[in-house]
Amino acid sequence: MTALDRLALLGRHRQLVYCLVSRDLRVRYKRSVLGVLWAFAEPLVLMLLYSVVFSLLLRVQTPAYPAFALAGVVVWGFLHTGVTYSLSSITQNANLVKKIYFPREILPLAMVLGRAVHFLLSLFLLVPFLIAFDIRPTPYLLLLPLLVLIQLVLVLGLALLFSAVSTLYEDVGFLVNFAFSGLFYLSPVVYPVELVPARFQTLYLANPIAALITSYRAVIISGTPPPWTALGLAAFTSVLALALGLFVFRRVEWSFAEVL
């Protein structure tokens, strides 16, 4: 099956993608008494926590730290949950995978798209803080869709790769979760890139997550151009991740129905 046939097959199943995404969002948002509010409370609570620890106690010298931290938390949240929630997307639907055929990549794809919608909604949490800190938008804000696209490609690639592998080998899920705890500290979620020693900056920004978070902050908060080289590299890495994810997923998807 060529890539085009595959895309056509996915197109025929777009109703399933839509249903899974809307189910995921509706169930997540109406799960608790506070409903939608609760789904968006988490980044605000984390922002408050980081503001106390890093701005008040550790004295990280970053202007508008709460807005800075919130941007980091929200962008990181999409990466982290997009990949880790997808890990079990196939095993959780084992009963369907074993009984009926549909393009399997729909399962991680729907999970990632659901997280993407949540991420886009979460970005609006920044608005009151931008107003409070008197941060005005600059034309660089128009780059936002490009950043979202690069991040979506990255998250989708990693989600396809790791959901496939962790279905065959359960412990890969633990490794991925462990890696994300490490990546959190290797990414500028709670501290600015400037705190990284100059000689490590290039290496540090080779991490696409670091490049993306820094770029988001540049265009939203400081109103400056993103670090172009790092962002270009991140785009390249993301496309590579998607290609690898698709390749691995399609190599092993046949065995899902046999191992589950």
């Binding site: 009926i100 549909f102 080998y169």
Partner: protein
């Protein structure tokens, strides 16, 4: 006779069964290093050739482990052949209840849309069949309640109502009569007759010889992954029952 809807040629399917169950990277790595990763190969289907023409109703019978379910899964595209080919023209849909695809918090109607989408139906198609699905499930106003409030029988009926209303050129049916009470089963059989009369190709897998004889024009008897006999319903069923009696007599004699 129309063009073949399902053509199975020299189909083989073997499963690798690890001697020790392993589904972790660590264990696989250790076994690879110590060269102890050993598999047994189990041949579930052995060169099965079968042609099911458009509008034909074919039943597949055989003892447990004869390869019926494997053949079923290969035709529906869930499994990939080890060798040989499965050629399907037209839209094939399995008639199975997918209540495991229901979400407990969503209403019956919302779950019908979700379930229909799993079968590959478009939104408009599902909307057009919603009335028929509601009538077939016959669960009254429960259709608007979250499915967590359903009894297991209601769950199965709603899921089944979706499956039976999928528009398909060929319907794969696996043990339909396991679902619901006698009245619901009668309704299922009536619906299958209706679909058959409308020219839908039917592949029926069952242990219930009564329904096999009623539904099938042609019966395929599988034995240890091979086709033992293909033909009109009555003689093939008799051969199967005779073989089963012989088998149990041998088992009793051996014991």
């Amino acid at each position: 006779m129309g063009a073949a809807t399902i053509r199975v040629t020299e189909l083989c399917k073997s499963f690798r069964v690890a001697r020790q169950p392993q589904r972790s990277l660590k264990e696989t790595a250790i076994r690879l290093l110590t060269r102890r990763l050993e598999y047994d190969t189990f041949l579930a289907l052995d060169k099965v050739t079968l042609e099911i023409r458009a509008g034909e109703a074919v039943a597949i019978i055989g003892a447990n482990g004869s390869g019926k379910s494997t053949l079923f899964k290969l035709i529906s595209g869930i499994l990939r052949p080890t060798s040989g080919t499965v050629h399907v023209s037209g839209r094939v849909s399995p008639l199975i209840e997918l209540s495991s695809g229901f979400h407990p918090e969503l209403s019956g109607v919302e779950n019908v849309y979700l379930n229909g989408a799993i079968f590959g139906m478009r939104r408009a198609e599902i909307a057009a069949r919603l009335g028929a699905i509601e009538r077939f499930a016959d669960i009254g106003d429960f259709i608007y309640a979250p499915v967590r409030t359903y009894s297991s029988g209601m769950l199965a009926r709603l899921a089944f109502a979706v499956a039976i209303n999928v528009e398909a050129d060929a319907l794969l049916i696996d043990e339909v009569l396991a679902v619901g009470d006698a009245q619901f089963q009668a309704r299922c059989l009536a619906k299958i007759d209706e679909l058959k009369a409308a020219g839908v190709t039917i592949v029926y897998v069952s242990h219930d010889m009564g329904s096999v004889e009623r539904i099938a024009d042609k019966v395929v008897l599988l034995e240890h992954g091979r086709v033992r006999r293909t033909g009109a319903a009555r003689p093939v069923i008799e051969e199967y029952l005779a073989a089963a009696r012989e088998g149990s007599a041998n088992a009793a004699a051996g014991a």
